[in-house]
């Protein structure tokens, strides 16, 4: 990968560098050794936790990535919270009253939410809230006001998706036999919905929501660029532009690790929540 995209050293050096200077840099960075040597050395160091030094920043790549990690996580978690908290009431309500005005309008809004490109939504938000109304800052990280726009625009797509999912889930669950039994027992409708129907809807929903975490992390890359949010994603994009390979690799590894842990957590969560799986003999 390192050499597929061109000579990293040549890119790093200022345009007027001489050949000797380039060679010297190359030697310094260890890029003059044969490929397999470089790979071997890389693996060795990786196992020690050393993923190399960023070409551009001059600090260990892993540390750089991990430094930015909390910022990205903050964004992702905030977006997830926003989408779930808003989607639950809307989705449940729409599922309970299909074909009413509320249902149709929420479907329409969710349609817009999944159709518009997330980065564009971010830009529109900036235009409305930062440029026009000047209510919220458009970049940087710090106060609660700073996180609102980025997390909000990142959340829009998931929000729309979740509303649709919850609505469909509720409608499906409500047509099941055990709901009929619950009604036949004389339970009040509110109880039938919020106890019996809800839990059955939430279980598959949680799984899907969890899997969205990964996709959120990916989407955050673009959001971080739009809002100049100092997170991992932005680092990744910059590094691509600068061919800063240690950072790219470090980023990939960290992201992969995060994905794996999220998936594992979701699996555990699902087993815990659904009694059918828990008691599989």
């Amino acid at each position: 990968m390192l050499h597929a995209a061109g000579d990293p050293v040549a890119i790093l050096m200022p345009p007027d560098a001489t050949v000797e200077q380039i060679d010297q840099m190359r030697r310094q960075l260890g890029l003059d050794r044969p490929l397999y040597v470089q790979y071997g050395r890389f693996l060795l160091r990786a196992m020690k936790g050393d993923l190399g030094v960023s070409y551009y920043h001059g600090v260990p790549a892993l540390r750089l990535v991990l430094q930015r990690l909390p910022a990205s996580l903050e964004l992702v978690v905030a977006a997830m919270l926003i989408s779930v908290i808003l989607a639950l009431p809307l989705g449940i309500w729409a599922g309970l009253r299909p074909r009413t005005l509320l249902d149709k309008s929420s479907l329409l809004m969710s349609l817009a939410g999944i159709s518009a490109p997330p980065f564009w939504i971010g830009i529109v938000c900036i235009l409305i809230f930062s440029v026009e109304l000047k209510w919220l800052p458009s970049s940087g990280r710090g106060t609660f006001a700073h996180i609102l726009l980025p997390a909000g625009s990142l959340a829009v797509y998931r929000l729309a998706l979740f509303i649709r999912l919850i609505r469909a889930g509720m409608m499906d669950v409500l047509s099941q036999d055990y709901i009929r039994t619950a009604r036949a027992k004389g339970l009040p409708e509110r109880f039938v919905v919020y106890k019996h129907a809800l839990k059955n809807t939430l279980i598959p929903f949680v799984t899907i929501a969890g899997m969205q975490m990964g996709s959120l992390l990916a989407g955050a890359i673009v959001t971080e660029k739009v809002f100049a949010w100092p997170g991992m994603g932005r680092l990744f994009l910059d590094s691509i532009g600068k061919m800063d390979f240690p950072v790219i690799i470090a980023w990939t590894i960290v992201t992969a690790a995060i994905f794996l842990s999220i998936n594992t957590i979701i699996d555990i969560l699902y087993v815990w929540m659904d009694p059918r799986i828990r008691h599989d003999y």
């Binding site: 099941q176 036999d177 055990y178 009929r180 039994t181 619950a182 009604r183 036949a184 027992k185 004389g186 339970l187 009040p188 409708e189 109880f191 019996h196 839990k199 059955n200 279980i203 659904d274 009694p275 059918r276 008691h279």
Partner: protein, 327 residues
């Protein structure tokens, strides 16, 4: 209304509006249920028996369904016109219903103790601990071994028979006046069937309950019913007590149903006869034939049957038939 009459249904008509046309699911049904007795409702699938039963507890969603006419009097009040709080008071409390498929009829994510306890908590105002105690008692009464352990289990951990017993426990927890059983044994093994039926009989004797037993299985009818009505295409075609139905069936449909029961041992003959079947198929309820509903499949049909839909007439005391050919 006689004093021991629990339920009286008058001329019930329920239609569904669908893309296939108007489905006349219940097309003029009247019946009476007496205290402590079992009314058997016989019919193939599509005869409207389930719809009729579910409408008593207002469990039929009213669009697309529509109550076109009729009353269902329970202690003088019309069940079909009750308000939501009123019908909720009746459901699971005065009139209980159990369904055919115990696996899908129980909520898979809650323990059966929880589900049985709900009736106690809602209709009798028990608190959690008392509800659990009573639920354990109910499980014991329906014959589930080790009830304390089972209380905490989930529906998928129980066998089919046990699930149905749990459903019965749920239905009978508040000692209802009427139990509506919609094909309770169809999904169960034969041996378990007998146990379940016995269980219901025991309860019936104990609390003097009326049972509406809906089934297409004539064996079950013979075992449990006191009175029988036979339904076809949303109408009652014959109504009598159980002896009359089996020994003197008058409607051609009833007779053909009885004939089609496979007989293994006939005196003197080793059963190698063909199974007698009723030719043709049950018509879809949106395209009922003209005249008598049954005439296309009837083996005694006459030209007049195509023109006139027969009314239910009393042919001998307590025995009603809807067929013009019966005198």
């Amino acid at each position: 209304m006689r004093s021991d009459e629990l339920l009286k249904i008058d001329d019930l008509h329920i239609h569904f509006h669908t893309l296939l046309g108007t489905v006349k699911a219940v097309n003029g049904v009247r019946l009476k249920l007496r205290q402590g007795s079992t009314l058997g409702v016989v019919g193939e699938s599509g005869s409207g028996k389930s719809v009729m039963a579910m409408s008593l507890l207002q469990l039929i969603p009213m669009p697309p369904g529509k109550l076109v006419a009729g009353r269902a009097l329970f202690y003088g009040k019309d069940l079909l016109q009750m308000t939501v709080p009123e019908i909720r008071e009746v459901r699971g409390n005065r009139i209980s219903m159990i369904f055919q498929e115990p696996m899908t009829s129980l909520n898979p994510v809650f323990t059966i103790g929880d589900q049985i306890g709900e009736s106690f908590r809602f209709h009798r105002g028990f608190n959690k601990t008392d509800a659990v105690k009573k639920s354990v008692e109910m499980l014991e009464m329906v014959g589930i071994p080790a009830p304390q352990k089972r209380i905490k289990e989930y529906p998928h951990q129980l066998s089919g028979g046990m699930r149905q017993r749990a459903m019965i426990a749920m239905a009978l927890s508040c000692e209802p006046d009427i139990l509506i059983a919609d094909e309770p044994t169809t999904a169960l093994d034969v041996t378990v069937q007998a146990q379940i039926l016995d269980l219901m009989k025991i309860f019936q004797d104990r609390i003097h309950m009326g049972i509406i037993m809906i089934t297409h299985n004539l064996g079950v009818i013979a075992e449990t019913a006191d009175d029988v009505i036979v339904m076809y295409c949303g109408r009652i075609v014959e109504s009598a007590d159980v002896d009359q139905i089996f020994h003197n069936p008058l409607h051609p449909y009833t007779r053909m149903l009885l004939q089609s029961i496979p007989r293994l041992f006939i005196e003197g003959v080793r059963g190698h006869d063909r199974l007698k079947e009723i030719p043709g198929m049950v018509p879809g309820l949106h395209e009922l034939p003209r005249g008598c509903d049954f005439h296309p499949r009837c083996n005694q049909t006459e030209p007049a049957c195509r023109k006139h839909a027969p009314e239910l007439r009393e042919v001998e005391p307590g025995h009603f038939v809807a067929c013009d050919l019966v005198k």
